[in-house]
Symmetry: C2
Subunit: 205 residues, 2 copies
């Protein structure tokens, strides 16, 4: 089995949004299959003593980040509207994403959630917003949200977040290539280059 | 007067090292003149409640950073040897760098200090190490170090660090183009592109 290219993201993370919108253009050009792994930064931040995003705690850093995202989205041609609430609670969206084992489905759903949060300023913690996204994918939302909120599936998100921590992930987005972690939207190209030069051959033999 | 491209750095910062070794190749290709601005991250970190580098405080982040620097220095072809002490005290080196108003001189001196710290694991807080760097530049070290330690010049470093904070700088390296801050070695190319498209014309008229 070839090693897969892993994309770890949090729905509240602005840089994860940029990567979610860019990754398929880059991976499909390179013929790379991607696993989509939503997880929660909140518990990881909490273990570092932070009760909210560091972009809220450290003012100069936060001010910089919003300007940086504005510049980068312009450079990439990605629509961006600063969310009126930050960080938005991504628990429900993450549970719905994890309710399917299909990474292709997760990618379609996740991009719409990111767009709702970072291009349309919609409240992704609201069940009606998630339901409307599911409907636009042609899904019956009631059944999927019910499954996403089941006890078993709640465990999935907890395990995903614990899995992220045990790999050594401390921020989002992160890209995993074998034992290597690449952190940040600005490492996406490096991660793919690493994958292509070290992992691509294993898969093609 | 055309706006200058500003490079703000801290001698203890690994990503500042990478930028210091890369910047002249990129700016000379673009015909851009660079101002070299050493400052101290320590007081800025202290104001955020940190008594050392966040790479020491947050273990997973620190572990990642050293691996990231190793990978990036390999990619850029820059020699790197993990310093046995981190972060090293850069006060003396910064004072010496600021004792000259010539950015060309600062760049030559600063690159040698960075190499001593990050490629040779030498103690840049040691006066003998700084003296040997000055000698290799053909300077009489006694006179320069004496001047660097003068009361007036100590004020220069304090003012540089306060200046960084007042601009909105919170990390190193940072690149300043007019009112725009670009933070991190991975933003050097973006900053130069911004400079070229917005500032270059003002200077050529």
């Amino acid at each position: 089995m070839p090693v897969k290219f892993q994309f770890w993201y949090d729905f509240a993370s602005p840089y994860s949004y940029l990567s979610a919108m860019r990754i398929e253009g880059l991976t499909s050009a390179a013929g790379v299959e991607t696993e989509w792994h939503p997880f929660l930064l909140g518990p990881i931040f909490k273990s570092q003593g932070w009760d909210t995003s560091p972009f809220n705690i450290y003012e100069a850093k936060g001010r910089y980040m919003w300007r940086d995202i504005e510049r980068l989205s312009g450079k990439y041609g990605i629509k961006f509207l600063k969310p009126s609430v930050f960080p938005r609670n991504g628990v429900l969206a993450s549970r719905v994403a994890l309710a399917s084992e299909s990474h292709e489905w997760r990618s379609r759903f996740s991009k719409l959630v990111f767009i709702a949060n970072f291009a349309e300023d919609r409240d992704i913690s609201n069940e009606a917003v998630i339901a409307s996204i599911l409907e636009s994918l042609g899904e019956g939302p009631g059944h999927i949200i019910g499954g996403a909120l089941s006890v078993e599936n709640k465990g999935e998100l907890r395990r995903a977040t614990e899995g992220a921590t045990s790999i050594g992930i401390f921020g989002a987005p992160s890209f995993i290539v074998g034992d290597e972690i690449f952190w940040g939207n600005d490492r996406l190209e490096d991660a793919l280059e690493w994958y292509g030069s070290r992992m691509g051959h294993a898969g093609s033999s």
